[in-house]
C-alpha cells in the first residue's frame, strides 16, 4: 500500500471511531435519562425528506463558511473565536448596504458582499493588529470583540430599523427583489429551495485550498503556523502573516451570514441566526482544516440539527440531545485522531524497521 492510501484510510478510521464513540456516549446519556434510545436514533437517522434535505444543505452552506473562516486562522496557529461577532456585524452592514440599494440590481449585491467581507476583515484585523504589535492573545481579544460587536449592532439596528405593522421584530430595510440571490429548487413543493449562495461557498472553499497549497503566501502561512522560529529564519515576517491571516479569516467570516441574508430573510433583524461562529470552530476541528473535511463536518452538523427538530414533537425527547452529540463528537474526533496518528507512526516505524533489516547488510557490504 502506498503511504498516501494508508494515511487516507487512517483518516477514515479516525473519523469512524470518533462517530461511533460519540453515538455510544449519547446513547448512554439517553439510557441514564430514561429516554427511548431506539426511537431517538430511528428519528435522527431516517432519510430526510426533500425539504429537510434542502434545509440541511442550506444550513451546511452557512456552517461551511464559518468553518472555513476558523480554519484559515487555525492554519496559522491562531484561534479566531471571534467569527461569531465578525459575521454578525458584517451581515448587518451588508443588510444595510443592500437595503439602501444605492446601486441597481446585482451591482448592489456585489457591493453588499464586498462591504461584508471588508467589515469582517476589519473586525478580525483589530485582533490581528493587537496580536502582532502588542502580543495580545487573539483568544481574549476576539471574545471581547464578540461582545462589542453585539452592542454595536444593537445600537445601529435601532437607528436603521424599520418595523412592519403589527410585528414586534426589529429589522433593517428589506433587500429589493432585484438584488436577492435567486435560489434553485431540488424538488417540488415549498421549502425545497437551495440558496444560490452555495456556489460562492464552494468557490470560497476552492480559493482556500488554492491559496494555502498553491501560492507562496499559503506556504508562508502554513510554515509560520508550524514553526515560528523556522519561519523567521527563512525571512518570513510573522507580524505580517498574523495580520494577514486574521484579515482573511475575518473576510471569510463576513460571508457567513450572507446566504441567509440574500436567500431567506432579506433583512437583518432581531431573529437573525446567532451562534454560527462557535459551530464553525467545532466544524473546522472535525474537518481537520481540510476544505472537503470541513464540508463533511458542516453537512454532519446540519444533518444532526435538522433531524433533531421533530424529536420533541414526535418522540418527546428534547432536541438538545443533539447538542450533546455534537459536543462529544468534537472531543472524540480530537482524541481518535491522536490515537490513530500514534498508530500510524508506529506502523511506519515497523515498516521502516522491516525494510531496513534486509537492506542493511548488502548496503554495508557495498560501503
Amino acid at each position: 500500500m502506498s503511504t498516501r492510501l494508508v494515511s487516507f484510510l487512517l483518516g477514515l478510521l479516525a473519523a469512524a471511531l470518533a462517530l461511533v464513540a460519540a453515538f455510544a456516549i449519547t446513547s448512554l446519556v439517553l439510557i441514564i435519562a430514561g429516554d427511548p434510545v431506539g426511537e431517538v436514533w430511528g428519528e435522527i437517522l431516517t432519510f430526510p425528506e426533500q425539504r429537510n434535505l434542502a434545509n440541511i444543505i442550506n444550513n451546511a452552506t452557512v456552517l461551511y463558511l464559518s468553518g472555513l473562516a476558523v480554519a484559515v486562522a487555525f492554519k496559522m496557529n491562531l484561534f479566531n473565536i471571534g467569527v461569531d461577532g465578525q459575521y454578525r456585524i458584517a451581515a448587518f452592514v451588508a443588510a444595510v448596504v443592500a437595503g439602501e440599494a444605492w446601486l441597481p440590481g446585482y451591482l448592489n449585491t456585489a457591493l453588499a458582499i464586498l462591504a461584508a467581507v471588508l467589515v469582517g476583515a476589519a473586525w478580525a484585523g483589530i485582533a490581528g493588529l493587537l496580536r502582532a504589535t502588542r502580543g495580545v492573545s487573539e483568544v481574549i481579544s476576539t471574545i471581547m470583540l464578540n461582545f462589542i460587536s453585539t452592542s454595536v449592532v444593537a445600537y445601529f439596528l435601532r437607528k436603521a430599523a424599520v418595523r412592519e405593522e403589527g410585528s414586534n421584530t426589529l429589522g433593517t430595510k428589506e433587500i429589493p427583489e432585484g438584488s436577492r440571490i435567486p435560489s434553485f429548487s431540488i424538488g417540488d413543493g415549498p421549502g425545497t429551495e437551495i440558496y444560490g449562495f452555495i456556489f460562492i461557498a464552494v468557490a470560497a472553499g476552492f480559493a482556500y485550498w488554492f491559496v494555502l497549497n498553491k501560492t507562496r503566501f499559503g506556504f508562508n502561512l502554513r510554515a509560520t503556523g508550524q514553526s515560528t522560529t523556522a519561519a523567521v529564519a527563512s525571512g518570513i515576517s510573522v507580524k505580517r502573516m498574523t495580520i494577514g491571516a486574521m484579515l482573511i479569516s475575518g473576510g471569510v467570516a463576513g460571508l457567513v451570514g450572507l446566504p441567509i441574508l440574500f436567500g431567506d430573510s432579506y433583512s437583518y433583524g432581531s431573529t437573525f441566526q446567532s451562534g454560527l461562529g462557535f459551530a464553525g470552530i467545532a466544524i473546522a476541528l472535525l474537518g481537520r482544516n481540510h476544505p472537503i473535511g470541513i464540508a463533511l463536518g458542516a453537512l454532519l452538523f446540519a444533518f444532526l440539527d435538522e433531524q433533531s427538530n421533530p424529536l420533541q414533537i414526535l418522540v418527546g425527547v428534547s432536541p438538545d440531545i443533539v447538542a450533546i452529540t455534537q459536543g462529544v463528537i468534537v472531543l472524540t474526533v480530537v482524541i481518535s485522531y491522536e490515537i490513530v496518528r500514534r498508530f500510524g507512526v508506529r506502523l511506519e516505524q515497523q515498516q521502516v524497521a522491516k525494510a531496513d533489516r534486509p537492506v542493511d547488510e548488502p548496503k554495508e557490504v557495498t560501503a
Partner: protein, 357 residues
C-alpha cells in the same frame, strides 16, 4: 498547532454542552409530564375531543415562570376541560429561521390542528407555513403582521395594564422616583415602558421614571438573567427610586431580590408573581401587571372546540380582561378605588395610553 487544537476542542465542546444545559433543564422535567397528562385526562375526564393541539413555545419553553408558562396554563386548562390532545415543542436560542418553520411544518404534517405559536419570533414563519397548509389553523401570540384566513393573531394591550401599575407605583412612591427595568429593548417591551410612564404621569407628572434595559437585540439574555436584573434594580434603588417595575421575564427574580435587600418595592409582570416568585421576596411585590396569555390561548381553543375558527387580530385589552393588575398580598387594596377609576377611564376611551415611549 496540536495544543491549539486541543484547547479549541475543549472550548467548543464546552460551549456546545453549555448551550445544551441552558435550555435543557426546564423542559426535560415537564415535557414528558404534559404528554402523560394529556392522555390521562383524556381517559379520566368525561369530555372528549379529537382535536390535536400543537404548541410551539418561544425560547425557554414551559417552565420559564413567565410568558411561556402563562400560555401553557391556558393549554392545560383546555386539555382538562375539553379533553384535547396536545404536544409541545420549544425554540432554541439563536436558531435558524427555517428551524422555526420546520417546527410548525412537523406539527402540521403529524396532523396537529390547530397550531399555536407563542411569541413574536414566529411571525415570519407563520406567514410562510400558514400559506403552505391552508387547511390547518394557526394562532400566534404577540404578533399581528400576518393576514390570512387560517391565522388568528392574539395580541395584548400591554400598555393599558402597565398604565395601571404605573399609577399604583406613583400613588405608593414616597421618594418621588420610580424605576422601570426592561428585559430586552424591543418594540414589545417599549409598550410596557410607555404605558408605565403614562400611568405615573397621570398621577403626578413630577415623579421621575428611571428606565433601563438589560440587553439589546439580538442578545435576548436580558429575559433570563437574574443577576443583570438585580444589578440594574440595585442601581435604581441606590439612586433614590423606591419602586421598580420589571418587564424582564426570568430576570425579574433579581429585581425582587434587590428590592428585598434594600427594603423597597417591586412590581411583577405577565403572571401574578406574588404567587409564582420565591416566597422570601413575596412581601416586596406591590402588584403585578397581568398579561393573561392563558386567557387568550384558552379562549382561542374553546372557540376552535366550539366549531368556529377564529381568524384576524384579537386584542386582549382591559375591557376583554386580557391585561390587568393583581391584588394578591393586599398591598394595593387602599388604592384599588383609584386604580379601578383609571381602568374604567381607559375602557371608556377617556384615557388613551401611548404604545411607544
Amino acid at each position: 498547532m496540536r495544543r491549539t487544537t486541543k484547547i479549541a476542542a475543549l472550548l467548543s465542546a464546552g460551549i456546545l454542552a453549555l448551550t445544551a444545559c441552558g435550555s435543557d433543564e426546564p423542559e426535560t422535567s415537564t415535557d414528558p409530564g404534559t404528554g402523560g397528562e394529556s392522555t390521562t385526562s383524556e381517559e379520566t375526564e368525561a369530555p372528549q375531543s379529537d382535536l390535536m393541539v400543537g404548541m410551539a413555545y418561544d425560547v425557554g419553553g414551559r417552565g420559564d415562570q413567565s410568558f411561556n408558562d402563562s400560555a401553557a396554563a391556558g393549554l392545560d386548562q383546555a386539555v382538562a376541560e375539553f379533553g384535547v390532545t396536545s404536544q409541545e415543542s420549544e425554540a432554541e436560542d439563536g436558531e435558524a429561521e427555517n428551524a422555526r418553520e420546520e417546527r410548525l411544518r412537523t406539527f402540521a404534517d403529524a396532523g396537529f390542528n390547530p397550531i399555536i405559536a407563542v411569541g413574536f419570533a414566529y411571525g415570519p414563519s407563520i406567514g410562510v407555513v400558514s400559506a403552505e397548509y391552508p387547511d390547518v389553523n394557526f394562532a400566534i401570540i404577540d404578533d399581528s403582521s400576518v393576514e390570512a384566513d387560517n391565522v388568528a393573531s392574539l395580541v395584548f394591550a400591554e400598555e393599558q395594564g402597565s398604565f395601571l401599575v404605573g399609577a399604583a407605583a406613583a400613588l405608593k412612591s414616597e421618594t418621588g422616583q420610580v424605576g422601570f427595568v426592561g428585559g430586552v429593548e424591543t418594540p414589545l417591551i417599549q409598550k410596557f415602558q410607555a404605558g408605565y410612564e403614562a400611568g405615573v404621569a397621570a398621577v403626578d407628572p413630577d415623579i421621575t421614571v428611571d428606565v433601563t434595559y438589560l440587553t439589546q437585540v439580538p442578545d435576548f439574555s436580558g429575559f433570563g438573567d437574574p443577576a443583570k436584573g438585580k444589578t440594574a434594580a440595585q442601581g435604581m434603588f441606590d439612586n433614590g427610586a423606591d419602586i421598580v417595575y420589571h418587564a424582564a421575564g426570568g430576570s425579574g427574580g433579581g429585581v425582587f431580590e434587590a428590592a428585598s435587600e434594600s427594603g423597597n418595592l417591586a412590581i411583577g409582570v405577565d403572571s401574578d408573581q406574588y404567587n409564582t416568585a420565591d416566597p422570601s421576596v413575596q412581601d416586596v411585590i406591590l402588584t403585578s401587571m397581568l398579561k393573561n396569555v392563558d386567557v387568550a390561548v384558552y379562549t382561542y381553543l374553546s372557540e376552535v372546540v366550539g366549531g368556529t375558527v377564529p381568524s384576524g387580530v384579537t386584542t386582549y385589552d382591559l375591557a376583554a380582561d386580557g391585561v390587568g393588575y393583581s391584588t394578591s398580598g393586599g398591598q394595593v387594596d387602599d388604592i384599588a378605588g383609584d386604580l379601578d377609576a383609571y381602568k374604567q377611564q381607559i375602557i371608556d376611551g377617556e384615557i388613551e395610553v401611548p404604545t411607544a415611549p
